[in-house]
Amino acid sequence: MVTAPPAGTPAATGSDARPGPASSPDALLTAAREAFAAAPPIGADAYHRYARELAARLTADWPALTRANRRDIERAERAGMPPVLVDRLRLTDDHLPRLTALADRAGHELAALTAADTGRPAGAWGTLRRVPRPLGVVLMVYEARPTVTVDGALLPVLAGNAVLLRGGKEMADTDAALAATAHAALRAAGLPTGLVTVLHDPRRALLRALLQRPDAIDVLIPRGSPSLIAHCRDAGRIPLIASGGGVNHLYVHASADLPLAATVTLDSKLPEPAGCTSVELVLADRSVATAYTAELLRQAERRGARFTVRLDPSVAPPAGGDPDRIAPLAEHDIGREFLDPVVGVLAVDGPGQAIAHIRRHGSGHTEGVLATDPDVAAGFTRAVDAAAVIVNGSLRLHDGPKLGLGTELAIATGRLHVRGPVTLGSLMTSGWVVEANGELRG
């Protein structure tokens, strides 16, 4: 059973972009572009102040933010939304330290990203410096997750951009309260409040109209369901930073350390079974498929985890395994995301077959190989083209902070501008400053 969410209700707080003349596409985009034009250059002190102010104001406003969130939660519960979805809307006290730490970290990263380039010689006549520049006006389209509104109000703005945030209408009150907090932080930092616009108008016509404005929107960042991303990708001509789904694989070579392979599999699935870096299908060399599955089930049992293996019917099930934890792998399980603590195991005859399967069914998000034979691992990394390829480790390592790449807004699977973690640095572009000292081209 799927119950539709209630109609969007007018936001209780906040100051922008409700249905009406002020929320016409022209008005919204003009305001955003004016704010972008009025904003100080990237790296200015005002952006560092904004990171600090946002952290402080999230803390100060937390009681009001959680009250607004409770209204959204109550409305969703009254509408019969399943508890698992209601939980996605919920702002809990665990979120606050994570959000303030994010603002703090991002502020520090900004300093490194905008440090002055000392320049390099341009011929014998001048100096060339690469300087960071903002992307411009960014439109983020996402479903109902309150922390994404904070991510969106923070990271693109620190990179000097203006941002329009179009979240799910189920979060109307929370998003309005978060908009008020972001605006207060912008004002305190000395930045134009128009750098953050939360769109409260839930009509799809507005979204469609915005997607037709490549003249005024520089970058589109959709996060959410496959249909939403597909629509954003196909509907307009605005450059896109998007993550596709994560139909991710682990290839277990005959040389693999099988206990490690099982541990890696469970770490790639159990903490976030529906996450975009979660493993869906393990391609195991036929000679080790039964032994690997036995180890996988043993470790899952030891953890007391709810976990099911969908096993290739051509693979002998391990002796003594709990039959409740094994189901047959079906044809429709190939190329799917289970979104549950479920992993498929398919036998393959060597790396060539594994790589061919990944090329056909993978989504280019995160792929992994488990092998002690370095030639196999090297061949896999050469042949598999994904945003990240992990050798002998968890697929969930594909994460900006964990990799030391910095805070991330999403994981991109596109081929241009950014692929992998969308960090603060990915929300900027760059230009050149040429100290020419009177040099002419001639």
Binding site: M1, A79, L207, G335
Partner: protein, 94 residues
């Protein structure tokens, strides 16, 4: 804005099936999905937070404009339930 045509039920069914397959992160042909297939079950995993994306995608596929509140307050059990509502919405949008 009004729709320029009304797609027949077969076209609606095909579009709805394509969208629920994508939403469920599946890679199967539409022929694999019957109208009695549960929206949340062994095969499909559709949830209401994806409805905005589904509606715009269905509009794209059918080249129609559906009412903003088409799904509001409704409960869906099967693919057929969704097809019925979209077909009615497309007809109403003529």
């Amino acid at each position: 804005m009004s729709a320029v045509h009304t797609p027949d039920r077969l076209a609606v069914a095909d579009a709805v099936k394509r969208v629920v397959i994508a939403e469920s992160r599946l890679s199967v042909p539409t022929s694999r999905i019957s109208e009695s297939e549960p929206l949340v079950g062994e095969l499909l995993r559709v949830n209401s937070l994806g409805f905005v994306g589904m509606l715009v995608r269905i509009e794209d596929e059918l080249d129609v404009v559906l009412p903003d509140d088409l799904f509001v307050g409704r409960t869906f059990h099967t693919v057929g339930d969704l097809i019925d509502v979209v077909a009615d919405g497309a007809e109403a949008g003529r």
